[in-house]
Amino acid sequence: MYTLGYQLVLKTLSIGLLVDNLTVSMMIVVNFVSLMVHIYTIGYMHKDPGYHRFFCYISLFTFAMLSLVMSNNFLQLFFGWEAVGVMSYLLIGFWYTKESAIKANFKAFIINRIGDMFLILGIALLFSIFGTLDYEYIFNNAESITSNTVVLSSSFEISSLTLACLLLFGGAMGKSAQMPLHVWLPDSMEGPTPISALIHAATMVTAGVFMLARMSPLFELSTSALSFVLIIGSITAISTGLLGLVQYDIKRVIAYSTLSQLGYMVVAAGVSAYSASLFHLMTHAFFKALLFLAAGSVIVALHHEQDIRKMGGLRSKLPITYITSLIGSLALIGFPGFSGFFSKDALIEAVSHSSVYASDFAYYCVLIGVLITSLYTFRLFFLVFHGPLKDENINVKEPQLSILIPLILLAIPSMFIGWPTIGPLVFDDFFANSIIQPSSNDIFGYQFTDSYHFLTHSLSGPVVYIAIFGILVSYLLYVIKKDIPEKLSQTFNPFYKVLINKYYFDHLYENIFARLFNNLSNSLWNNGDIKIIDNFIVNGTAHRVGRFSSRVRELQSGYIYHYALMMVLGLALFLAWVVFKSLGLVI
């Protein structure tokens, strides 16, 4: 709305704020969750020596996130993008004396750099085509460059719009932790729980999804980029969910769930249902922040114990946490009536109706994903709150009010936010001024009348039943017959091993990429820095001068007669020169 510009060489760079309906919905989510987390932190961190530092960081994070969503050009977007990355780095390593935390924030930083490299390449490509970074100009003129191509090699050229979209999506893959770049998010749980809720569930990791929606005018022009988005999203949705089934750290289970749900949002963007993607982003922000904060409440109550094998039967000791967790879990799996139900169902509806390349694959992925979601969610829920109470947890009691109030305040939108908002946000034209997408009939193949009708319509589909089936299965596995999971993991041992090792992604990265780069940089350091620059150029020069001087020094023998001889010889030479010069024999 407000723009301040100045001339830079021949191109105009301007900064400004853009507040449209897309930004507003993001601002509501960011500010609300941020407020809840601020309140929660008062209780959660009050004994921590870094109490004040923590508030500085999360406030700065909120600023960075707001400047990301309110930007009206790519430069500001990139600034906000990097700033949230920095705050995420600082907060993951908040307990900087813990080695695992330092490793985790280093990992998050490096993997985000890989994504950001793609993002800045995409921005540079758009800048070189349009000569400006303003959203408005680029989006209005995107159609004029659909026939432009970029020559990558003599035999291979690619539509420049597709390339730009793929590069921008590469940035989103880093920030939103999509499949090959997802490894940093589970490790980021080394940070304090409030930031897991704020940054690594509700806001920062959804920046990639927000960007996809913001760039919809570009993505809509490139079906191949959309298919790529769809495939990456569906692989992420299903494969990271499976990992959540074998984890025993309460926060890591929720982190894998976050990855899987981010995959859902990306899938929705891939089938052009940006509004459904954003709607899921919003509901997910509420119920996932709720789940994280509830997990934090359990962790505080058990004096910083995170292993779910040491929990169990806590429902009588932590009644408020129990009820709010139940609400969050039901919302997460999409139980009818809860907020997650509306968003996930609209999303799956869009995938099933889509005709984009690979949309069938994506449909089966998200359907199986629903089952997996309800399995790991209620596995966690039953293991923590049901079953026998452990002896060491007899004296557990609910934490203080500042922790419980945010749980209750987040439980309310997790339950009810779907009812009033699904109509305007997903099916009506609330986002019409900020997102370009086909009409809701084309996306969903469904005529929306009211929320209740949507609910009954969904009951005729498979999604709800799959989710409820998942609850029953996990009740069977983790409450009634508790020895079955053990037997299953032994029967399917190879598969279980793959899951426990997280598909060997960490091994792959450590042993191939990290080792390769370590060797490369070591050899550059040894050969380039030490051998050539230090030893040859810097020290080598000094050494050679020294050696030359020590030779020359030998001339100074200290014997008077040597000096005298030199004087005589010099004189003789000089005289000879004078004589020969006067004869004209030398110059």
Binding site: E554, Q556, S557, G558, Y559, I560, Y561, A564, V568
Partner: protein, 101 residues
């Protein structure tokens, strides 16, 4: 009849003896001083020879100055020598090489 050439040749021979004496002397610093005197004497020889053959008295006057300077120089040189001997207990040229390197 003695010519100018014979005088100059004698002076050159004395000069050469002086220089060789300085350069190949490996032993005594007094010999160095004596050789310096030889150099001065050869120069004086030239002055006197030219003055006689050119009928110019200025050369002979100049010789007196040189003799005075040579005497003063010998006195100072010997004084330095005594001081050196007191400090070093030696006047050996080979050992006096603190200027080395």
């Amino acid at each position: 009849m003695l010519t100018l050439q014979s005088y100059l040749s004698l002076a050159a021979i004395i000069f050469a003896i002086g220089i060789i004496g300085i350069v190949i002397n490996r032993k005594n610093i007094i010999i160095v001083m004596m050789c310096t005197e030889l150099l001065l004497i050869s120069v004086n020889f030239n002055f006197i020879a030219f003055s006689y053959f050119n009928q110019d008295i200025a050369g002979q006057i100049f010789v007196f100055f040189i003799l005075t300077v040579a005497a003063a120089e010998a006195a100072i040189g010997l004084a330095i020598l005594v001081a050196l001997y007191r400090n070093k207990k030696s006047i050996d040229v080979q050992e006096l090489r603190t200027l080395r390197n």
